[in-house]
């Protein structure tokens, strides 16, 4: 069944998010995640980071209304943040065990039976999604409901979302919808409205967003890059350093008097 599945995505239109946080609770409910002490964020949000017990959280951002027609008025942006299930996924590349893998429907999931808790993925996610779970010694993140999806069910968050701000479905039609929505928003005066997660970002995000304002306003990196892009250059420089040190050692320890022996 899984092998024949098409690519599935979550499309979040933040401009119709009411910040109700049903997605957060539905995620906890379905995935049976326990209570976690919240933080005081100064606003309606109860956290500012993902955790092993919070695979989704809503960001609340109070800004000046980005529309010129609403100059001087306040606007309250809300965004339900989640694992982006990147096409080029830093976590997946980093994972030494193969626990982090790409599913048949294109998303990124962690096999808890294989994960060994090295946390390289934690450090390698440009969105700060993966979190270490001290109870299990492994890492957790949104699974894209990898148990529901193959059974033909939408993700728990998308299903519960009251306004359909979070939608679950096939990639292409969803992308079309999102692109059309950006056009609409621009026409409504949201000059910086954008689609975050088309193929220009990490090869495409399988959880992509329509934003009313620039990504950084929402705490998203404007141009995230695959951390492993550095491996080749860093390795080359390390090799160069090795050569320098090696030559230095050779020069330092070369047996000048006796010449080479044996």
């Amino acid at each position: 069944m899984a092998a024949t599945m098409t690519q599935k995505v979550m499309y979040t239109d933040t401009t119709i998010c009411t910040g109700c946080r049903a997605c957060m609770v539905a995620c906890k409910q379905w995935n049976q995640l326990p209570y976690e002490e919240p933080e005081w964020t100064g606003g309606y949000g109860n956290r500012s980071h993902f955790s092993d017990k919070a695979w989704r959280f809503v960001r609340f951002i109070e800004v000046d209304d980005p529309r010129p027609s609403h100059k001087g008025e306040v606007q309250w942006l809300m965004m339900s943040d989640v694992c982006k299930h990147c096409q080029q996924a830093g976590c997946l590349e980093a994972c030494p065990t193969g626990a982090i893998h790409r599913t048949a429907w294109g998303t990124v999931d962690i096999d808890q039976g294989i994960c060994n808790g090295c946390r390289d993925c934690v450090a390698s996610c440009p969105f700060g999604v993966i979190a270490f779970n001290a109870d299990t010694g492994r890492v957790n993140k949104c699974t894209f409901c990898s148990d529901r999806v193959p059974a033909g069910m939408p993700t728990a968050c998308a299903k519960t979302c009251p306004t359909s701000s979070i939608r679950f479905g096939d990639k292409e039609p969803m992308l079309e919808m999102a692109r059309a929505r950006v056009k609409e928003l621009k026409a409504q005066g949201f000059e910086r409205a954008n689609l975050y997660g088309d193929s220009d970002i990490l090869g495409g995000l399988n959880a992509f967003y329509v934003l009313a304002d620039s990504p950084s306003v929402y705490g998203l990196p404007e141009r995230p890059e695959l951390p492993q892009r550095n491996v080749n250059l860093d390795s080359a420089l390390a090799i160069a350093s090795s050569v320098v040190i090696g030559l230095a050692a050779l020069v330092s320890f070369r047996d000048q008097g006796a010449g080479r022996q044996g």
């Binding site: 065990t97 934690v122 450090a123 350093s241 320890f253």
Partner: protein, 296 residues
């Protein structure tokens, strides 16, 4: 409230990892220094090389233990070896450590059975030396790897201070060389070995490594710019400037210059710079690992 900042998760790499990075560097550095000296040096260097091999082998074991302690469950380390992923320094590193371990073991065994009867393999003493130097030469590559891959690993994360630093692997290698050779010096001093002329070679090499490390560190700070805030002016600044720059680089360099030419039995004046270099090497790993995920 207002514009929120980008959030990157803390991998919670703690003291196990700091020690692993530090000791792994020493192991790699001691090994490749020893192997190069063993191959290209004269008979006097062989004694020094043996110390290097003897340091590398137990440290490799300790490194493995540290990694296992960090993972929590011993069997989980084996999961590292389910796959080999070229772009994952963690994966390559796990394999690399295993490979290095094999070299370190063989080299240590051949060093131990330099003379006299040898169990299992009936090799002549000359063959033993020849194989040891050949194995060491090839193993040098594994030593370079172990000494530097940890820096490449940091560079391939999303942590701003790490991901911006192209020279971390190169820097760690330089530090591994100086801490490796310093540890050899320290052991020689502890055991009161008369390395004769080799002391001067050690010093020459160490001074070079220190200079090279300082050059790379300076280049790194320039590259990082604002991202270096936590270490140059932030929470870890004191440790960085005093622990690494002053104690770990400047002081041993100056001390070594003042010591001048030396041969014969080691004195504390020889051991002190080595000790400081080791402190500096530890501080480097500590500061870099701790400050990366630290937010403001």
């Amino acid at each position: 409230m207002g514009v929120v900042t980008a959030n990157i998760q803390d991998p919670h790499w703690g003291m196990y990892i700091v020690w692993y990075f530090f000791l792994g560097g020493i192991a790699g550095g001691a090994y490749f220094t020893a192997a190069i000296a063993d191959y290209f040096g004269g008979p006097r260097e062989r004694q020094m090389a043996k110390i290097g091999y003897y340091i590398a082998w137990p440290l490799t074991v300790i490194c493995g233990i540290l990694l296992i302690l960090d993972l929590g469950t011993p069997s989980r380390f084996l999961n590292m070896l389910r796959e080999f992923k070229w772009q994952s320094p963690m994966s390559v590193g796990a394999w690399g450590l295993a490979v290095f371990g094999a070299f370190a073991t063989v080299s240590a065994v051949l060093a131990y059975f330099e003379r006299g009867p040898m169990p299992v393999l009936s090799l002549s003493e000359a063959d033993r030396l020849r194989y040891r130097r050949l194995v060491g030469l090839v193993g040098t590559l594994a030593g370079f790897f172990l000494a530097s891959y940890t820096g490449v690993l940091l560079g391939s994360t999303a942590i701003p201070m790490w991901t911006e630093s192209r020279l971390m692997g190169a820097l760690f290698l330089a530090s591994a060389a100086s801490t490796g050779v310093a540890s050899i010096a320290l052991v020689a001093w502890l055991r009161g070995l008369d390395l004769g002329e080799t002391w001067n070679r050690i010093h020459r090499f160490d001074r070079f490594a220190i200079v090279w490390e300082a050059v790379l560190l300076a280049a790194l700070l320039v590259m990082l710019g604002g991202a270096a805030e936590p270490i140059v002016s932030g929470r870890y600044a004191l440790l960085f400037w005093v622990g690494l720059v002053a104690i770990g680089l400047v002081a041993p360099f100056v001390l070594q210059l003042r010591t001048g030419h030396h041969s014969g039995r080691p004195t504390f004046a020889l051991a002190l710079p080595a000790l400081l270099v080791l402190v500096g090497g530890f501080v480097l790993r500590y500061v870099v690992i701790m400050s990366g995920p630290y937010h403001g």
